[in-house]
């Protein structure tokens, strides 16, 4: 198994982990953290593809590498915008879950089919 395959599998696992956090955390900021994990997993998949394309004396295919750099900067901008939305939500509503109804009680929210 090459390092590209190893870290590619690592990226796949990160996408799965992040997706799980995205679904299971009610807090918007936690969802955002989880989404950043999904993003870095996707970037790592790009990294594995870039590493496999090493040729002509380069350590990796520079085209996917450049795309990842672009992606990292755009991901930061999107995260900053989302963080501002979360902070605004917390100021306006005093809470950061995305439940449209105010919580009737403080225990665990009931499961919803949707």
């Amino acid at each position: 198994m090459s390092d590209a395959t190893l870290f590619g599998l690592c990226g796949a696992a990160l996408v799965g982990l992040g997706l799980y956090g995205l679904i299971c955390h009610p807090g918007a900021l936690r969802k955002l953290l989880a989404f950043n994990l999904v993003g870095s997993g996707v970037f790592l998949l790009f990294g594995a593809v870039a590493r496999r394309g090493a040729a002509s004396g380069f350590g990796g295919d520079p085209v996917p590498q450049a795309l990842v750099i672009t992606g990292l900067v755009v991901a930061f901008a999107a995260t900053a915008l989302a963080v501002a939305l979360v902070v605004r939500l917390a100021q306006a509503a005093g809470r950061t879950d995305l439940d449209p109804e105010p919580p009737a009680r403080s225990e665990a929210t009931p499961e919803r089919p949707s």
């Binding site: 679904i23 918007a28 953290l33 994990l37 520079p62 917390a90 950061t96």
Partner: protein, 318 residues
């Protein structure tokens, strides 16, 4: 089948462990702390994958600035937020776990079944890199072969800033960004904010300059410059500019305007939008990089500084 190097196995285990910590830990602030460490280890993974350019960006931007953003946001969340304690029931968790495992498994299958020999644009880049005058293939891709991506990205950054500012309440418009303001900083932090920026600015310019031939470039340099500005703001040595400040707005769009200007000139002089006239490629690329670095640094700093807040809010928030 050969085994990967032990250091690679260790790094992969560390990355997955830290990601698991970010997902499973109970408090949001701790999860954000874990995310910073996760980003730093991920930067080492990028070094192992032979991509030092991405590693620099991940360490500075993905771990450093994103971590700061998330930590500041976590510290501002309401203490009695119901989202901190509620969790979905076991049924939802099991279904989610099964679905996410399926997604991860499908992606893993894709990784294992990637075509052999691997398709690569590296030979094409190597064959044409000399025409751009730069020696770093990633810089060549970012500023010459796929310059349109970079142009789009610089405009996305401006739009993100517009979106962020538009979240301000009406009475806050014209105020100063509020995320980084707080109680007076402790004296060690003020000392650091006085000593470090000259070195940081030097490192940022160095990263831009060597980015032509070695790992580095405008994004990495801009991130370091933005970090220095943010350090000064967090320490309270300077106030962020008002959102209505015209010099600052001009600086934020300066890079994109230079990029569009040189790109449009290329339509006449070199026959295509974003094409460079022969022999002038390197000076033009360096001009775009310098202008973009300034603008990206300003925008990254302003994105971290958050939307404007009314003036009377300054200093009273705990």
């Amino acid at each position: 089948m050969s085994l990967p190097a032990p250091v690679d196995l260790g790094l992969a285990a560390l990355v997955l462990g830290l990601a698991g910590w970010v997902i499973t830990t109970s408090a949001t602030y701790r999860a954000a702390e874990g995310f910073v460490a996760y980003g730093l280890v991920l930067a080492l993974v990028w070094v192992r994958l032979g991509s030092v350019d991405v590693a620099l960006t991940e360490a500075a931007l993905g771990s450093g600035l994103t971590g700061l953003l998330l930590l500041r946001a976590a510290a501002r969340l309401p203490a009695d937020d119901p989202a901190e304690t509620t969790r979905p029931g076991p049924g939802v968790r099991v279904v989610a776990a099964v679905l996410c495992t399926a997604v991860a498994g499908a992606l893993a299958a894709v990784v294992l079944l990637l075509p052999e020999p691997a398709p690569s644009l590296a030979p094409a880049v190597a064959a044409n890199l000399s025409a751009t005058g730069v020696g770093n293939p990633v810089t060549g891709v970012l500023l010459a072969f796929r310059a349109v991506d970079t142009l789009g990205e610089s405009i996305v950054l401006v739009l993100a800033l517009v979106g962020l500012w538009s979240l301000a309440p009406d009475d806050a418009w014209g105020g100063r960004p509020g995320f980084l303001r707080g109680p007076a900083a402790a004296s060690p932090l003020r000392f650091l904010a006085q000593v470090l920026p000259p070195f940081g600015i030097l490192v940022g310019i160095h990263l831009l300059w060597i980015g032509a031939d070695h790992p580095g470039g405008k994004f990495q340099g801009a991130t370091v410059l933005a970090a220095m500005w943010v350090l000064v703001l967090v320490a309270g040595l300077r106030q962020p500019p008002r959102v209505t400040s015209r010099p600052m707005r001009g600086l934020a769009v300066f890079g994109s305007l230079v990029f569009v200007g040189i790109g449009t000139a290329g339509a006449w002089l070199a026959g295509a939008f974003l094409a460079y006239p022969e022999g002038l490629a390197k000076p033009l690329i360096l001009s775009i990089e310098t202008a973009l670095m300034l603008s990206v640094a300003v925008i990254l700093g302003l994105l971290l500084a958050g939307p404007p807040e009314p003036d009377d809010a300054a200093g009273v928030r705990s």
